[in-house]
């Protein structure tokens, strides 16, 4: 049993190589262990004091978001709120103020829950994950990263150091909405993110939609770009809703039946497309969209 407090990425990688598991905020790892989901790993390396893992930086390839960015930081970060708003929408809905201050983006992504809130936004914003180990680093798409509920394709020795987002372009907007039964401490019953770029005439120039909590991993809606391009935003929503409901593979559990989830994922997809298009059109809709537009328990 060991607990290492790393202050540099290299220290952390050495500990990982020796078999330790990383712990960032611990809001999944520790809470899960307490609930008997999985025992706390015998060897842990705390990564929460590694400065290199923080921050949001603009670079030539777009934006680098450190894995250690907390939800509280993400929901107010000017770059994220300004150009990658769906992530801020998602982070602002996570748990409670204390969860948001402790929980991190990296933890959310690596925990791999199909109900993770930042997953659908990162997917529509075409984020890539930078993984590093003692032997080197590689960058993978999120599709490649998530393997199933609670599973990733990262090797045990790999640390997620950052997520990379492509540069924002003109007249593009994004949004994440989720169905929730109450206003705090909620878990997505279903959630949908959309990123929309508008053409000069106001019609959809490109669009991506991804869904949370309706499949074993975050689900990118197929064919949505082809189906929506050229439509007005108003006409696009219902088409996105139909595609989302059709492609979702929801389960029935204590939170909702599959039938209700299938219906609601369509509603969420429509609302996400609508909000993303309005943001693309320059409208300022405060984060999170759920509260601003009176969605769910708003």
């Amino acid at each position: 049993m060991s607990f290492t407090i790393a202050t540099t990425v290299d220290e952390a990688l050495v500990a990982l190589d020796a078999g330790a598991r990383p712990i960032a905020g611990g809001t999944d790892l520790v809470v899960g262990a307490r609930h008997g989901k999985a025992a706390l790993p015998a060897d842990l390396v705390a990564i929460d004091r590694i400065d290199e893992l923080g921050g949001v930086e603009l670079d030539s390839a777009g934006v680098r978001v450190g894995a250690l960015m907390s939800h509280a930081e993400l929901m107010t970060d000017p770059v994220i709120v300004g150009s990658y708003t769906a992530i801020a929408d998602a982070s602002a809905l996570v748990g409670s103020p204390s969860t948001r201050h402790v929980g991190t983006l990296g933890g959310n992504v690596m925990n791999g829950s199909p109900a993770m809130d930042t997953g659908a936004p990162l997917t529509v914003l075409r984020a890539a994950a930078e993984l590093r180990s003692v032997t080197g680093s590689r960058t993978v798409s999120l599709d490649e990263l998530w393997a199933g509920p609670g599973r990733t394709t990262a090797n045990p020795g790999e640390l997620l150091v950052a997520l990379h987002l492509p540069p924002a372009w003109d007249r593009c907007g994004s949004a994440y909405v989720r169905l929730e039964y109450r206003r705090a401490m909620e878990i997505a019953v279903v959630g949908a993110a959309a990123a929309v770029t508008l053409a000069a005439d106001g019609t959809v120039a490109s669009v991506a939609v991804a869904l949370a909590a309706v499949a074993p991993t975050i689900l990118s809606v197929d064919g949505v770009n082809e189906a929506l391009v050229g439509r007005t935003a108003a006409a696009a929503g219902p088409v996105a809703a139909a595609l989302a409901s059709e492609q979702a593979a929801p389960i029935s559990d204590l939170r909702a039946s599959d039938r209700y989830r299938r219906h609601c994922i369509g509603v969420m997809a429509k609302r996400a497309v609508d909000a993303a298009a309005r943001r693309a059109d320059g409208e300022s809709i405060a984060v999170p969209v759920n509260r601003s537009l009176g969605i769910g328990a708003a």
């Binding site: 109450r182 705090a184 204590l254 909702a256 509603v267 769910g296 328990a297």
Partner: protein, 758 residues
Amino acid sequence: MAIAEVPRFVRADGPDKVTGSGRYAADINLTGQLVAKFRYAGVSHARITKLDTSAASAMPGVFAVLTAADVPDVIYSPVVPDRRLFAKDVVRFEGELVAAVAAVDAATAQAAVDAIVVEYEDLPIVDDLEAAMADGSPLVHQDWESYAVTGDTVQRPNVASFSSIEKGDVDAAMASADHVVTSRYVADGCHALPIEPRAVVAQWEGEKVTIWTSTQVPFGARAGVCETLQMPASKVRVIVPHLGGGFGGKCGFHFEAHVAALAKAARRAVKLVFSRQEEMVAPDRRREGMIVDITSGVKADGTLVARSGWIAIDNGAYTADAAFFPQLAAMHVAGPYAMEAVKIEASLVYTNHQPSGSVRAPTAPQACWALESHTDELAAMVGMDPVEFRRANIVDEGVEGAAGQIYGEIGLRRCLDAAVDASAYSDDLPDDEAVGVAISWWPSFPGPSGAYIKIDSDGSGMIITGAQECGTGSVMTLRMLAAKELGMEPEDFQLVYQDTSAAPYDTGATGSQTLLNNGRAVVEGAREVAAQLRDLAADRLEAAPDDIELASGKAHVSGSPDKAVSIVELAGVAAEGEMLIGKGSGTPPEYPSVSAMCVGDQGLAGWAGPQFACHAVHVRLDRETGVVRVLDVSAAHDSGTIINPVAAHGQVEGGIMMGVGQALTEGTQYGDDAKQRNTGLLEYKLQTAADAPTIHTEFIEIPDPNAGPYGAKGLAEAPNVPTAAAIANGVAKLVGMSVRQLPMTAERVWMTSEGMSS
């Protein structure tokens, strides 16, 4: 009409609770203390074919392993005695105790619990209320006829207690109606869910045991220990450190005897601390699921003439304190309405679920939800505005209620007016918003209760009371009453409470009764001390005792504030001779008589100090998803005189939040195995602070002569009663019909609006 000039004061327990220096039961640690863990049935209905504790007992570090064979074979519970400390032969719900272990630490205790061998033969599961009542249903209790029920309790196969309220000829009256409306409403069970899971610590000294426990009823807990372990009350002391909430879930006697028995067998102090899951599965206190069928007859002009009702209440596997539930539910389905004839039958039905028991206003929120939803349907049937329909049919001064009680001056009509006026009921609202209105009532519960009051030589006061503080502030408010009688400040009094060996009897934090009953005792005790002070002052000031007034910490001659002596000085004098000591118990208010015929009478058809309320709730519906949000609640309450306005507002706000939860998100989900599926706070959805609506509260203060001090009635339960009903009526306006299941989850609302049944 606050009785004190300055209604705000620092609660005696406030600083400790806020700073964390206060001690709760789980904070008690004794030398050599062992850890208790329970072996639960884990199955809902089965015969025990093998129970072998030898491996567990043999484990190093295990000091005691107990089963039914190791404790007196006592079958207990008030009114309907039907259970034992440990299962004997048959287990009837998943959380039933089969064995208990005391060991050096939690891991050893758990290992020992796991090492106990129990084998079962399955018995048929009874979990459907109607099927359970049908002829030929498997029985939850095979030998129910042998149970020594008390009072007028009526039993039937799988029915622990049956009650009816009957007045007039309901068939004839129904035939005279222009419209007859029938509705069925089904409520899921839910939980009290105090934030503090319970803890019990027991320690023996010779033949005496001291038990520190998180109970709402120290004397009730003591009585349970005495009954089940066959001990005299003089050998059992129950102490409650600070209590982290109860909401009824900690009423009654629970695990004090198990821990005491373990401590005796182990010859060491033993401590039990529940996990959240245990807190949700094991205690015999949950809010009861219910089916309500109501039929009402109305005249075309909106006059209510007759009502019949059929109610089935989920008792769960054992009866706890629930024998009175049928009659109380029947009263709530009758409601505070006048009508010619009524016939309501209610059954408390055994199932293989966790036992039900008093949770804040037992039976009332569900029954009120059914009745008030039905009432809006009646109004619609005759084309009347729902508020007007209520104005035309409610009880009032001099009017006879459904059970035949004739009321004195009551505030129901004023509550209705005040809540509706303060709401957006008459406003033009967006088409996804509406205001729903519901009225309700709730009894006050008179009972015996005692307190001592003393003033020490330094002039500081002390109230020694049997009352239990469960967070409502009612014990804290006792200081206001003593202060008023003695011309002192609330902060001048300390409290000694929650210790059965220190103070006289009180029923505990149950039935909103603390201020009603113990408040009278404290006033009476304080008046004794006041008389003693007047005598002393009269001597010193050369005046007649009757001319002495106590105010601002002084005794002065009436009309001459300067002819005065301080209470501190008088206390010093008294300390040298006849000390300042008072006691109070006093005669409880009387129960009024009623004219209805009641089968299975539990004494709850006529109410002393009846409380009335109206909530008008502004809701918003997300039509596409069925998610309902409560925006604003206007509440008006007649709970008689309000003594401590700050605490009273807190009770209304808390009751409303609990009602919002019951209305929208809180409900137990069962599997086919009759086990609860959502036994954690992730899947059992409480409301959070972020969900809280704006709440406006108005008190209609009508002092009730047949109630508590200064005409105060109870208050802690009443605010929980009409909230779900009012929300339902708002939602029904938006959906176009009632959502007939509670909680009205988003999915159920959506299904109702889509015309689907669930």
